[in-house]
């Protein structure tokens, strides 16, 4: 048995060594995108370039970043292709991306106020993504819930227990959604809206895909999602709808050449292909349903396809990416410590607040109304005020992840404070709302 094993091992190693030398014309793409999209590009690129092979390496965005960091130069994949712009920023700072200008014509410099390509030239927008609401029509009909139009609709009591969202620390797309709300409404009012939406939510999912997945199969009624998730589900026959609220932001999904790539030439060729008319057209496939970055491609789109250049999507928010980046970790950490990890308490407070409001509407009572207003203020005010987010020292604390013991202590104390404060606020708000409800009797 042992000799058999040894023989088997030796044979396998030899076979592998043989295949290793054969694969020269191979471009490796590190991506977080789903299989439908990557298979379509692989097939099209190989058809257009006979003799070349595309190897897709699919990892989540953060795992992809970790993989690039830990791989030695010369062995790295050739192209990095993902949504979240901040992942590209991190890679560029670490010197893991190479500048490359594919010189494709027809792609505008900006979408709204947001640059399509990295101003420094490290990465380029390959598709556009808008954020919006997706809902399951059967679920809403069965639970007699109206379809929402705006982010602000989601704070209404009728949506209690029917929403789902992910957390900004888990998903770059959710971070952009939250940041869009914060920029549209301002810090205090924005957080109040986010807290109320989260209070109505039944789950804070761990992956951004958890939201469209749950809405598609009917676990959740309504989800906050990136457009292609909603559109692809609808085009695949699921009973779902997708809409852009008026305050949404359109931002690019990106592609970049990796520094220290094994096959940089082929990598360049692949990026060029992905930005060409043929490459852009692939995005219109119903199973992919992404927004091309090349305006002329929309002429080939089916009727009703959203066109960010055609004025069909009203993006009122001029997304400020510098502001977003400066407070990136604060927003993520605050969301997690006040919402994700304290979701149970937040939902409990939201429930009694809704109940008290119903009782007070039936039997108005000044004392009760005052208590309810106080309860709302307690539950739906962020535990960090805006002046703090402009404090450079405060922001620096979050930016640096390699911390010495003293800074780690400081950081831990802060997290503890946020979590504790949030929990106290929610518990107290629930008590006040209960008193308010009692006053209405």
């Amino acid at each position: 048995m042992q000799s058999f094993l040894a023989a088997r091992l030796a044979a396998a190693i030899l076979a592998l060594a043989a295949t290793g030398t054969a694969a020269q014309q191979q471009v490796t793409i590190l991506t977080s995108f789903p299989k439908e999209l990557t298979s379509a590009y692989k097939a099209a690129f190989e058809r257009a370039n006979p003799g070349m092979r595309v190897e897709i390496l699919n990892k989540g965005t953060s795992a992809g970043v970790a993989y690039l960091r830990e791989t030695r130069a010369g062995d790295r994949p050739d192209v990095f292709w993902a949504s979240a712009p901040d992942a590209f920023e991190v890679l560029a700072k670490d010197g893991l991306l190479a500048k490359f200008d594919p010189a494709v014509k027809g792609i505008p410099d900006k979408i709204g106020n947001y640059p399509v390509n990295d101003p420094q030239g490290f990465y380029r927008g390959q598709a556009l993504a808008g954020y919006g609401l997706m809902w399951n029509t059967r679920y809403l009909a069965a639970n007699k819930v109206p379809a929402p139009k705006e982010w602000a609709d989601l704070v209404k009591p009728v949506y209690f227990g029917h929403l789902a969202t992910s957390s900004p620390s888990r998903s770059g797309t959710t971070h952009l959604t939250i940041e869009t709300i914060l920029q549209a409404e301002g810090w205090e009012k924005g957080w109040s809206q986010v807290l109320q939406i989260a209070g109505n939510a039944v789950a804070i999912t761990e992956r951004s895909f958890g939201v469209p997945d749950g809405v598609s199969n009917g676990q959740f009624g309504i989800g906050l999602v990136i457009d292609f998730f909603g559109l692809a589900a609808k085009n695949s026959g699921f009973p779902v709808e997708f809409a852009y609220p008026s305050q949404t932001a359109i931002v690019p999904a990106n592609i970049a050449l990796v520094n220290g790539a094994k096959n940089a030439d082929l990598g360049r060729r692949f990026i060029q292909f992905s930005l060409s008319p043929a490459g852009q057209e692939l995005l219109l496939d119903p199973k992919i349903s992404r927004l091309p970055v090349l305006p002329e491609t929309y002429r080939k789109a089916p009727a009703g396809y959203p066109d960010p250049y055609g004025g069909k999507i009203r993006a009122k928010v001029n997304f400020d990416s510098e502001l977003s980046e400066s407070r990136y970790f604060v927003v993520s950490a605050l969301f997690d410590h006040a919402i994700t990890f304290r979701h149970k308490e937040l939902v409990a407070a939201t429930r009694v607040i809704h109940e008290a409001a119903v009782k007070l509407a039936a039997k108005p009572n000044a004392q009760g109304q005052r208590l309810l207003t106080e309860a709302r203020a307690l539950a739906f005010t962020p535990v960090v005020d805006e002046t703090k987010t402009r404090d450079k020292g405060f922001l620096a604390l979050f930016r640096e992840t390699k911390r010495d013991a003293a800074r780690q202590k400081q950081m831990t104390a802060l997290e503890e404070h946020w979590g504790k404060q949030a929990r106290q606020n929610y518990d107290k708000a629930a008590a006040l709302a209960r008193q308010a409800a009692a006053a209405a009797k």
Partner: protein, 579 residues
């Protein structure tokens, strides 16, 4: 663990030998130690030293203080303990009757049940939990029925109880497998004597059978505890974050790979796993479970009385329905085009299977190659460690056991990153190929991570082999190696097989490390493929189809290996009768 039955004089030669240790034993121990140091301890240390160092490299314990300062961490700690404890209790309630009835009674379909009982382990946690959502979730089939007929729904998939529910159904096979192997190894004479003395039913089980099978039960139960304590996939799919493993994962992946608190959690997970193992070993120490006569195939299975049979079949059918519900969910998902807010899918199709067989056959063969080799290495190393620990006096032998056990508590992310860091520049001897770019890295990673399973099973099996059987062989002139090969290993066969099966199937569904280590899609195993498909709406069908293929093939393998062992036992028994 000494031999209480043997007269002192008879064992003197062997005892004298056991006091020393041979060079061969030491060489084996050293080789295993080197392997574990290189592929487990060192990679893990390169990552988790963050927990006890300052950025400049000096040592500190301050991060542990920070950890306990966070009430969130204390709460997570308590939640993890609660979930793991409750899961062990519930898994025991499911597994013990299943094992006892199928091994000890004449029962139609016992092998089938043993095989079906292992099925939950074959499914990646994220897929099982997804399927359970479709059936038991808020808008799952069960709650839709309840809502339509009775006007209420059961929130069984929410919060900590959802985690306990899913984990119980997922991990009870650990107890079932180990306990069944142990039950089959009990000397039937013990039971017969007890029966002759008038014991029967519950009393027989409680006083004789269960105590003798205790090593198997404790091995299984401690595995369940540790697995649940460390499990990441299930809480994450159910969106439960306030537990230790998810906290570690969330911190490492969102705050950054350098966040010390995340590694403090890893430290605690490792510590607890070792403590649980040491605790179970201490619990078993000083008791003797070995029996002299082996009679697995010859053990008389008793007949069930009619009312007992009704009860037993009722219980088993009920449990199996519950246990197989995720598989039913996956099967339906794999045959569906659209399944949304309805009891069963509304559009049925076979397309998903043609997609899988067109695109992913390579992944299927990869899984068998990697996991088969890894499981084989695991039982070889596991048997060796068990033998060194229980039968020799090689200094530091306990440390082999402890070292191997560390892998249980290592989150796949940590080991994965450790491998990427440690072997960045390593090349395979002779071919010059980068180790990280070859499929051998998967075999190594799976071997190391699944070794504890095999080790537990081998350990339990060896504990049940009475020392005097080996002494008899050696007194008859057999060398130590020959004794091991011809007496010990065959007597341990059931346990070794259980170890092989557990290692194989848990390796086949490993995902977090696999994602990190996959450097080319052509090298990827099936678990990676399932994960990949499951990332998009249109991919759920093919993902489920690939899952069904995996389940069917592994179940077939388990069934055949059970048959194989049963046949071999029968054969040996026949041989024994002839002269």
């Amino acid at each position: 663990m000494s031999a209480p039955l043997a007269a002192p004089g008879a064992v003197a030669p062997l005892n004298a030998e056991a006091g020393r240790w041979s060079a061969g034993q030491a060489a084996v121990a050293l080789a295993i130690a080197a392997f574990l140091l290189a592929f487990l301890i060192w990679p893990v240390l390169t990552v988790i030293r963050v927990a006890v160092t300052e950025p400049d490299g000096s040592l500190t314990l301050s991060h542990f203080g920070s950890f306990f300062q966070l009430s969130l961490m204390r709460e997570s700690f308590a939640n993890s303990l609660y979930v793991a404890g409750m899961t062990v209790v519930l898994a025991t309630l499911i597994a013990v009757p299943l094992a006892y009835i199928t091994v000890r009674f004449r029962f139609r379909g016992a092998i089938l049940i043993q095989t079906l009982g292992v099925l939950p382990l074959i499914m990646p946690a994220f897929m099982g939990a997804a399927a359970m959502q479709l059936l038991f979730g808020r808008s799952g089939s069960v709650n839709q029925l309840l809502g339509q007929w009775f006007g209420f729904t059961l929130p069984i998939m929410e919060g900590l109880k959802g985690v306990i529910f899913v984990e119980t159904l997922h991990y009870f096979p650990f107890i079932l497998l180990n306990l069944s192997a142990a039950l089959a190894n009990i000397d039937s004479a013990m039971e017969e004597s007890a029966q002759n003395l008038g014991a029967s039913g519950w009393r027989l089980f409680r006083r004789i059978v269960f105590p003798l099978a205790l090593p198997g039960y404790v091995a299984g139960a401690s595995l369940v505890f540790i697995k649940v304590f460390d499990d990441l996939g299930t809480p994450l799919v159910l969106n439960v974050t306030n537990m230790l493993a998810p906290q570690a994962y969330l911190r490492v992946t969102s705050i950054g790979i350098e966040d010390p608190i995340g590694y403090v959690i890893c430290f605690i997970l490792v510590g607890f796993s070792i403590a649980a193992m040491a605790g179970s070993a201490a619990f078993l120490r000083g008791r003797d479970f070995a029996t002299l006569q082996r009679g697995a195939a010859a053990a008389p299975r008793r007949d069930l009385r009619p009312w007992q049979a009704v009860l037993a079949y009722g219980w088993i059918v009920g449990v199996l329905l519950l246990v197989l519900s995720p598989h039913l969910g996956i099967l339906m998902l794999s045959l569906s085009k659209v399944w949304s807010f309805t009891l069963v899918p509304e559009i049925w199709t076979l397309d998903n299977y043609s997609v899988v067989f067109r695109d992913s056959t390579r992944m299927i063969t990869n899984t068998f190659l990697y996991c088969g080799l890894a499981a084989l290495l695991d039982v070889v190393i596991g048997t060796a460690i068990a033998y060194l620990v229980l039968r020799t006096r090689v200094p530091g032998r306990q440390w082999l056991d402890h070292m191997a056990t560390v892998a249980l508590a290592m989150p796949g992310v940590v080991l994965g990153i450790g491998y990427l860091r440690t072997f960045r520049d390593t090349e395979i001897p002779f071919t010059g190929e980068a180790l990280l770019g070859s499929w051998l890295i998967f075999v190594l990673a799976y071997t190391v991570r699944r070794l504890p399973y095999a080790l537990r099973s081998c350990n339990a099996a060896l504990q049940q082999v009475h020392l005097s059987l080996e002494e008899a062989a050696q007194n008859l002139g057999a060398s130590r190696a020959r004794t091991i090969w011809r007496v010990v290993v065959p007597l341990m066969a059931g346990g070794i097989l259980a170890g092989f099966v557990t290692s194989f199937i848990t390796a086949a569904v490993e995902i977090s490390e696999t994602i990190l280590l996959t450097s080319r899609e052509s090298l990827a195993p099936m678990s990676y493929g399932i994960y990949l498909y499951m990332q998009s709406i249109a991919g759920r069908g093919p993902g489920a189809a690939l899952g069904v293929v995996a389940i069917v093939m592994v179940a077939l393998g388990t069934y055949l290996s059970h048959r194989f062992v049963a046949a071999r036992h029968a054969q040996q028994f026949m041989k024994g009768q002839r002269p």
